[in-house]
């Protein structure tokens, strides 16, 4: 039978005391900063979350970036360029935040390019028309705002501060998308058909952004106690999104691709049909319409940018 030495007992109680103080700081609303003591699991979970968020911003540039050269006017092109530039900036904020936890940019990028790291599965769908650009801004970025506003209260200082800045800029993203959808929905019959088609294709992937039904994650209690998971209820947030967006889309004369969708007068909620979680897991696990294309684009960009990294290293001496 293993017997603990006096030294290991002392070390364990020191670690336990550190954990107690750490959790007390979080309970008091204090931010944990780089260099502060933190449990290894806290660090690991944050690295996973923040790096995946960063990857999502960078990969998220691809579906809309494809429409920069095909925007219908110069103004729309400038707006879309600004939005995609913002996403690059968001990725930078988040990679920097993750690096403060001790992981390198190279390690994070290797994980993405080798398929070991995930990114938001919603970006594995194609943008087939200009209306998709509007719907992504209006629906997908609105869902992201709801998801991410809570993260501005995350216990880790660099991530919380990055989220404050990101959420402010996401407002512009949502409004420019909403502006496109309004104009198309109140335009010609072809324009309206185009935006309706985009809604039909993006509706369910957007709802999946809020994550699976609650109760499916065993780690939730400790992550909530550590201020990493700042909300406990995916379904509530999804319902909040549905309740806000459905009446707006209806007022534009647009419908949702959900035969089960109906209004519950008693609760004031718009009730949606069952989400196809098989599709969700298929896409997350690499079998969506554009997973391969997205990763090929990222790997090509990394390979073609090698000379820039080499030049910087040479310049740096």
């Amino acid at each position: 039978m293993f017997e603990k030495t006096a030294e290991s007992v002392q070390e364990e109680s020191s670690e336990a005391e550190k954990l107690r103080l750490f959790e007390a700081r979080i309970a008091r609303g204090e931010k944990i900063e780089p260099g502060d003591w933190m449990p290894a699991e806290y660090r690991r979970q944050l690295i996973r979350m923040i790096s995946q968020h960063a990857h999502s911003e960078i990969v998220g540039m691809l579906p809309e970036g494809a429409w920069i050269t095909r925007a219908p006017s110069l103004r729309r092109k400038m707006i879309l360029l600004a939005k995609v530039q913002d996403e690059a900036g968001h990725g930078q904020y988040l990679y920097h935040a993750a690096e403060t936890l001790g992981i390198s940019r190279e390690e994070m990028l290797a994980a993405l390019l080798e398929g070991r790291a995930k990114y938001a599965s919603v970006f594995n769908y194609p943008t087939l028309t200009w209306a998709d650009v509007g719907v992504i801004g209006y629906l997908v970025d609105f869902a992201a705002i709801l998801n991410q506003t809570m993260l501005a209260r995350c216990s880790y200082g660099p991530y919380a501060r990055a989220m404050v800045r990101i959420c402010a800029e996401e407002n512009f993203h949502k409004k420019q998308g909403q502006d496109i959808v309004i104009h198309l929905a109140s335009g010609t019959s072809s324009q309206k058909a185009m935006v309706q088609d985009a809604i039909n294709r993006w509706w369910w992937p957007t709802l999946m952004m809020f994550g699976p039904h609650d109760g499916e994650s065993p780690n939730t209690p400790v992550l909530v106690r550590w201020g990493i998971k700042t909300r406990t209820n995916n379904d509530e947030l999804r319902q909040s999104f549905v309740n806000q967006i459905v009446p707006e889309l209806h007022s534009l004369g647009l419908s949702l691709p959900d035969p089960s969708l109906h209004y519950n007068k008693a609760t004031g909620d718009w009730i949606i049909g069952e989400i196809d979680w098989d599709e969700f897991w298929r896409v997350i696990n690499g079998h969506g319409p554009c997973n391969q294309e997205r990763m090929e684009a990222r790997r090509r960009a990394h390979e073609e940018g090698a000379w820039v990294r080499e030049a910087l290293s040479a310049y740096n001496g």
């Binding site: 204090e30 400038m78 600004a82 800029e169 420019q176």
Partner: protein, 160 residues
């Protein structure tokens, strides 16, 4: 911000952090030039003697020079420039800062950094670095009047 030299850091910081028309000056400094202490650390440990450096701080000229002093008023705040002190080492600068800038409510964290290590954008560069953002109102959510547009559509088409 990662960069190969301070000038590139300044330009990268402009591109990443200052895309909206809200900036007239940008500062960059190498992370290891910043000597920082939280309120908790200051309670638990004595500051080192004058002339001694601290962990991770490579900067120590030995001669008296200007240090910028930042503090974070509360845990959820951001570091704010509160003044400058002359000192021969970061620890001494922090000690002076604690005497001069603490106030009634101790801040939650402090930064001190040698002024000579900070690259500040030049006032002459305001026009070229930050002014272009002034014209790009389309980057602002306030440039999109979606509420007005939604009301217009509802009244024209009698939406639900």
């Amino acid at each position: 911000m990662h960069a190969s030299d301070p000038e590139m850091a300044l330009l990268n910081a402009r591109d990443v952090f200052v895309r909206r028309p809200e900036c007239t000056s940008l500062w960059v400094v190498l992370a290891d030039a910043i000597f920082s202490k939280t309120a908790q650390e200051l309670e638990e440990q004595e500051l080192g003697d004058k002339g001694l450096g601290d962990e991770g701080v490579k900067e120590e000229s030995g001669e008296v020079e200007n240090y910028y002093i930042f503090y974070k008023p509360k845990p959820t705040g951001t570091q704010t420039l509160v003044g400058e002190v002359p000192a021969a080492a970061p620890v001494e600068a922090l000690r002076l800062a604690l005497e001069r800038f603490s106030g009634d409510k101790p801040p939650s964290a402090w930064w001190v950094l040698p002024a000579r290590r900070v690259l500040v954008s030049s006032p002459d560069d305001i026009e070229s670095m930050f002014a272009p953002a002034q014209d790009k109102k389309f980057r602002l959510s306030t440039d999109f009047h979606t509420l007005t547009e939604m009301r217009r559509v509802k009244s024209e088409f009698g939406g639900q």
